[in-house]
């Protein structure tokens, strides 16, 4: 079965999110910081009457960025490299994620069962992989990402 996915890049890896309901893509902007929130929550964003929590996805997934010496995890300077915010919803709960760049929408084969091991990402947050033109696309499980604390 094929479904529509939005593909985006984060820490030089390709990810996909299934398109369910409305989706918006915005240039990165500062959001309202919430004291004592989880470290990967940038803040709250008001957009067209909805309040979206904005998740720094790289930090949430513990994705490293190429640094001067090897990879340094969790060193994300928000909004510095022309990042985007994708606003979406999971089970009618709206939320936003910060990504490096939005690639395109495309129809993909639904990923098979979740893999046991994923390089650099906790496999519990990964639904599976889809492949298109020899590219590996990681499909994330946002329900788990949002609620597994």
């Amino acid at each position: 079965m094929r479904s529509s996915y939005l593909l985006f890049l984060l820490a030089e890896r390709l990810f996909g999110v299934k398109l369910v309901g409305a989706i918006e893509i915005l240039p990165w902007r500062p959001s309202r910081r919430v004291p004592l929130s989880y470290s990967y929550v940038e803040g709250l964003l008001d957009y067209r009457g909805n309040v979206y929590p904005v998740h720094n996805l790289a930090q949430r997934l513990g994705l490293g960025r190429p640094g001067p010496i090897g990879f340094i995890a969790g060193q994300n300077e928000p909004g510095t490299k022309g990042q985007s915010i994708i606003l979406l919803e999971e089970n009618s709960v709206p939320f936003g994620i910060v990504v490096d760049s939005v690639m395109r929408m495309m129809s993909l084969e639904e990923p098979a069962a979740a893999p046991e091991k994923v390089r650099g990402v906790d496999p519990k947050y990964v639904t599976g992989f889809s492949y298109e033109e020899d590219q590996e696309i990681m499909i994330l499980d946002f329900e788990r990402l949002l609620h597994a604390d």
């Binding site: 309202r32 919430v34 004592l36 929130s37 929550v41 709250l44 008001d46 998740h55 609620h147």
Partner: protein, 136 residues
């Protein structure tokens, strides 16, 4: 006037927060607070209000915000009794038909009850302080 439609806007550092005005008894500029070693570190001391000693909270310390404790003292009636809260300044009182939006799930540990919701204020979002959840 319906209850909960007027909010006090206060500043803590460079950010604004709101509080339902129905909880407010008085705003005072406190003279020296009396230290009380029986109180935990989130309290700055105690203050004599209408003949009774009330504990005074340093909200910045609770919310881990940088800077000195505020210099305006709000005396509020919380579910746990009358208490004082130090803020940097009281900016204004707003009158709004808004119902506070709950803080979305997954933003912070649900056992922390510091914020009673979110309001829109001057093209921005502000957090509503929950006077009942601030006490340790």
């Amino acid at each position: 006037m319906n209850e909960g439609t007027r909010f006090l806007i206060v500043s803590l550092g460079d950010e604004s927060y709101a509080m339902p005005i129905t909880r407010l008894l008085e705003i005072v500029v406190p003279q020296a607070l009396r230290k009380d070693t029986n109180l935990t570190e989130v309290f700055e001391g105690k203050f004599e209000f209408r003949g009774k000693w009330i504990p005074v909270l340093n909200i910045k310390k609770i919310l881990r915000l940088p800077g000195k404790p505020g210099t305006s003292l709000l005396v509020v009636n919380s579910a746990k009794g009358v208490l004082g809260m130090l803020v940097d300044a009281v900016t204004e009182i707003i009158d709004t038909a808004q119902k506070p939006v709950p803080v979305p799930k997954g933003v912070m540990n649900p056992t922390l009850q510091y914020f009673g919701g979110i309001l829109r204020y001057r093209d921005d979002l502000i957090l509503l302080l929950n006077e009942n959840g601030l006490l340790p």
